[in-house]
Symmetry: C2
Subunit: 316 residues, 2 copies
């Protein structure tokens, strides 16, 4: 009944960290890694590899930088594989140390489509250092189709492991995911590159779109515990664990983790289905103004915010 090639990647600490400047406690990250490991989650993404010359270490938690010391404190061998994200333009190549010195299994390069050449360069460096390499092309709902085709064509010529379809703005619905999933899968036919999907939940479609990806043949699935992620958050890891039939998966440890750690965090940080995020999603906009609206609406009503975003240009 199940497809053994499917992998779950939990990105709670990485994407969720965008809501708290990655200021998780060491114990929290440990509990997330442990619950993921016990639930059979294949990869646990423990943060970003951000360049310390660009970001002040005092303003962010250690998951923003993923030093080897931090990673070894929170993760252990025999659990989920460890993944870290490296943003194009925000990563010091020297921080991608040789695989044999690291607990990390996979480096995920995050890029805008227009910077695909830089992403491939960074990915090649990570590959040369010995890692599994994944490339996430962000904000696909803003990419012109010829540019996307060209990027996928370039990626198909690499020896990378996974390329992700990423709906950063939570804009897509099933028929659009189907169209894009087919495009990605076709681009990598005859290669060893797997396709992944990372969805945001602005329209409560993140889980459904991930299922749509599975149906089309996508094998790498991003989730986060209780959906923790930027703005509306992500497809939830617990729904994926509840849905997938591989006997390796068990939702129970993640359910208990939600109760002990995530209810309170969610009530404070407020990721999820909130109207400003929903409005940004239906209008295919970056969530930055919605995040500002959630912090301080300055007397702007939900309806007015919708109208403002509808009528204004891209960069409001």
């Amino acid at each position: 009944m199940y497809r053994p090639q499917i992998r779950i990647l939990d990105c709670t600490i990485r994407d969720g960290g965008l809501m708290n400047d990655h200021k998780f406690t060491t114990e929290q990250v440990k509990r997330v890694f442990d619950a993921c490991s016990k639930s059979g989650v294949d990869y646990c993404e423990l943060g970003y590899k951000c360049d310390k010359s660009q970001f002040d270490v005092k303003k962010f938690g250690p998951a923003k930088f993923c030093d080897e010391e931090y990673l070894r404190e929170v993760a252990y061998e025999g659990g989920s594989k460890v993944s870290v994200m490296a943003d194009v333009g925000r990563t010091d190549y020297k921080d991608i140390i040789p695989k044999k010195e690291s607990i990390v299994s996979m480096v995920r390069v995050a890029t805008y489509c227009k910077e695909i050449d830089k992403a491939i360069d960074l990915g090649r460096h990570a590959k040369a250092q010995g890692y599994e390499v994944c490339v996430n092309i962000m904000s696909v709902s803003h990419v012109l189709e010829p540019d996307l085709d060209e990027a996928l064509g370039q990626l198909a010529e690499t020896d990378f492991d996974v390329v992700y379809l990423v709906d950063s703005f939570g804009y897509l619905y099933s028929e659009q995911v189907q169209y894009l999933a087919n495009k990605y899968l076709k681009a990598f036919e005859g290669t060893k590159i797997e396709v992944g999907i990372h969805c945001h939940n602005n329209q409560q479609l993140a889980f459904a779109n991930t299922i749509e990806g599975i149906i089309r043949g996508i094998n790498y699935l991003d989730g986060s515990v209780y959906g923790m992620g930027r703005a509306a958050g992500n497809c939830t890891t617990e729904l994926l664990l509840g849905f997938l039939k591989n006997p390796r998966y068990n939702v129970q440890p993640v359910l208990d983790l939600i109760e002990t750690d995530f209810l309170k965090m969610q009530s404070e940080l407020k990721w999820g289905y909130y109207i400003p995020y929903m409005v940004a999603g239906i209008l295919n906009k970056h969530p930055r103004t919605a995040l500002a609206m959630m912090k301080d609406s300055q007397g702007v009503s939900y309806g007015d915010y919708y109208r403002k975003l509808l009528l204004e240009g891209e960069e409001v």
Copy 2:
């Protein structure tokens, strides 16, 4: 671009009323009806037609009984059409007064599949009184297929207007909705009966499943404001309004209504994506134990609740 046959039915007061014993204030119901009307929502369901010999009027709000006096106070001509729900076995036929004396346009008969003969009898009575008639076959994820086929066959021989596919337990995902939608649509081919879809959101799939219904050819779509409904609640009306392309629809009045009335109600009544409801959904169970768990967990953890529900029989 849009399909003119599509109708939105907002069931906030009716389904949402299951979370507060229908104790809305008159002003709240007025605001819901007004926002629905201004947003172009086709039908606004203002409650149940419950038998007062079975339910104590002092224990419930007026939306539980939908006396004509209440309906005329909260609704007005020229707005959304008014719909009321009549439960099989809980309705006094005498309460379905002649259409010419009522502001109601549609009577929706709610039934379990096994009581389809009673539903058809009640529906015929409503039809004879002059109303549009709709039948909602509840809890379809618990119905045996031959029974469902027989019920649909019987309904196809009536002069009713709509029959709803109802995922009461929020259990279905896209491929199952597709299968059932095709079944319903085929059953009513060559008749004037339209098919509707009413989804619950236990797995955050209510909106996605409603879209799946649209893609298959379903034209009647249930939503509720901010998803207010029993347990995990429903597909949200605002997401439907944001998605559908008919120029008649405008999401703005509903967004403002959420801000003025629904944020506070949601924080108190707690419908939506909560883990006990999610657990009941993935296990295809009635939400009654999840509702009890939300009120008082009695020290049972989320993980234990999952295990308990997984291992126990149908009626826990």
